[in-house]
Symmetry: C2
């Protein structure tokens, strides 16, 4: 089963012709999940090989404009381009305040979406940003006469896990964890569940299991009893389970909050981390709530990520091949921390496949 | 004094790589005035020869997303790129509801603009759209605990003039007038005041006016009395006044409301009018609150505009030279109504100069 991510915007602060504002798409089984939606994301989608109509989930790391200002327009266009009842519902996950913003933007522009949408809000904790920057949007739409807007859950931090469980089905889980930034920011971890190994037909024959429904029971994890009274457990006839893959997408941050990030991202197949400014500007970066390649690589090292991809570059760093080699310096800074392990610098429209684990 | 407009987005409904969402800039005396601000306008500005920092006024025709969703991001970027106190204040004019939208978008994204901005809201009348579409946003931000947002006037229709006076100084006036669309929409007329003609030095000598302060008085329109008691009026010594220019930018509409548009746009040097669909789809266009080239040209004919420019094309009409000649058909449809008078089809980044009148 293929799993890939495509960067639609890799610039920080605002979109430019060289680097769009933050957005990336994770594609799995033909479904597209969008992470962040800066202004211009819908146009970047049109320029890419992806089909916007396939978007079924949207994750927003934080409420800075370069991560959300493309969202009302994207939803409008998805609706315009879909026939009634043909577009799958869209689930949106993001910080508290997002539901009100979306609802009001659509209401003001007289937009009636032709598909259902749901906004699940993550409640940040005040220690995710400098105290003077923290805003509580929980009361924005309280009061008489204010329609409620779209449905959705309000998700609080699970204090034991230090994370927010957002999605769980038979195949995978998505959790959010907290980051420190100028405003509360989140990282998201998608983790596939291990898939049971294949049946070993040779062994089944040796043990005398007759082909048919018993195969299915074993495959689904049940122990069976043969006619002669002998028990066969799945362990006896299944190849080892195939481990799931793990992809982590972090929002803007100068650092993760607590140890959850290191735990949740452990052995990630892919870790997408911002690196707004070079290591030479580490103090400026930290002051603005941002990371450098060194900061990002340090986290990748601690969680032993298999591959680190840097993004959200200051617009001063032109894409490689654009006549300016400065961005290559960012790669070297990260690789130095990772003992030479290869680091990838994201560019708009770059697609990275995440292969199945062996 | 040069006066020119540059189209930044000429597509309808949503931005695409071929046509940006609605936006155009009128440049006069180094100042830029922006009309509409669809998503992606800030990137289109970067691609153009214009400098976003020169924007001092923004006019919004109506609240559909393809005309406003670029505005919060544009203001953020203007602020990021300006040094404190260096950027001139920005005056924004648009329908009721715009102040709340802007204020909330900036508040949610934790944006503190480094320059002052003012939002002047035009109060539409319910007959500007189908009754079931009319929404009253006047109560959105009423209530305790809701900060007031940026300052600005609330401008009501002047019933005698059937227009809204927005800007008036020694050099020009800007008025808005009402259009009929799916939601209340406006057109804007910028009209330069006539400039006094030059002093005719030959005549001044003949009449015995001594060079000096009296020249200035005559030039400014005052009658003077010479030492011998003879009166000299400005009319005697001034060349005829130079008529001002008139530029009209209409928002989306199927028709203007009442006769104000024809009166206010009379003899316009430039009339910018939408033509979303071709004449063959006139019923569809009208039903969606839009115009065709024929509709637009009819208005241009009635007000005897000197030049008609069509814009806001359905994204199905690719720019000319893009391998598809269909858009040229739109030009022919408009020219047929205007007895062959040349009509211009707008494209992104097209600049049109409006010469001084003779
Ligand atoms: Zn950012
Ligand atoms: Zn940020
Ligand atoms: Zn429009
Ligand atoms: Zn419209």
């Amino acid at each position: 089963m293929s799993l890939e991510i495509t960067f639609l915007g890799t610039g920080s602060a605002f979109p430019s012709p060289a680097r769009g504002a933050s957005a990336l798409v994770l594609r799995r089984e033909g479904q597209c999940w969008l992470f962040d939606c800066g202004e211009g994301t819908q146009t970047q989608l049109m320029r890419s090989h992806l089909r916007a109509a396939r978007i079924t989930k949207i994750f927003i790391t934080h409420l800075h404009g370069d991560h959300i200002f493309g969202l009302p327009g994207l939803l409008c266009t998805l609706s315009l381009q879909s026939s009634p009842d043909a577009k799958a519902p869209v689930d949106i996950y993001g910080p508290l305040g997002l539901r009100s913003f979306l609802w009001r933007s659509l209401e003001l522009s007289h937009t009636q979406l032709l598909f259902p949408y749901t906004v699940h809000e993550l409640v940040p904790t005040p220690d995710q940003c400098p105290p003077e920057e923290f805003k509580d949007f929980s009361s924005w739409d309280v009061g008489e006469g204010v329609p409620r807007g779209p449905p959705g859950r309000v998700v609080h931090l699970d204090p034991g896990e230090e994370s927010y469980l957002l999605v769980e089905d038979e195949q995978l889980e998505v959790r959010a964890f907290r980051l420190f930034h100028r405003v509360p920011s989140f990282g998201f971890v998608l983790e596939e569940k291990p898939r049971p190994g294949k049946l070993n037909v040779q062994k089944l024959k040796e043990l005398g299991v007759p082909p048919g429904p018993l195969y299915g029971k074993l495959k689904s994890g049940a122990t069976i009893v043969l006619e002669d009274g002998a028990a066969v457990s799945p362990r006896d006839v299944l190849e080892p389970p195939v481990p799931g893959r793990k992809v982590c997408v972090l929002g803007d941050c100068s650092a993760p909050l607590g140890e959850a990030a290191v735990r949740l991202c452990r052995r990630a197949d892919l870790l997408v981390h911002e690196a707004t400014l070079g290591d030479g500007l580490r103090d400026t970066a930290r002051q603005r709530g941002h990371s450098t390649p060194g900061t990002a690589a340090e986290l990748a090292r601690r969680c032993r990520a298999r591959r680190l991809v840097l993004t959200h570059f200051s617009q001063r760093y032109r894409p490689a091949g654009d006549g300016d080699g400065e961005v290559a310096e960012l790669r070297r800074q990260a690789e130095a921390v990772l003992d030479g392990q290869e680091v990838t610098l994201a560019e708009d429209f770059m697609t990275i496949e995440i292969p199945l684990r062996k």
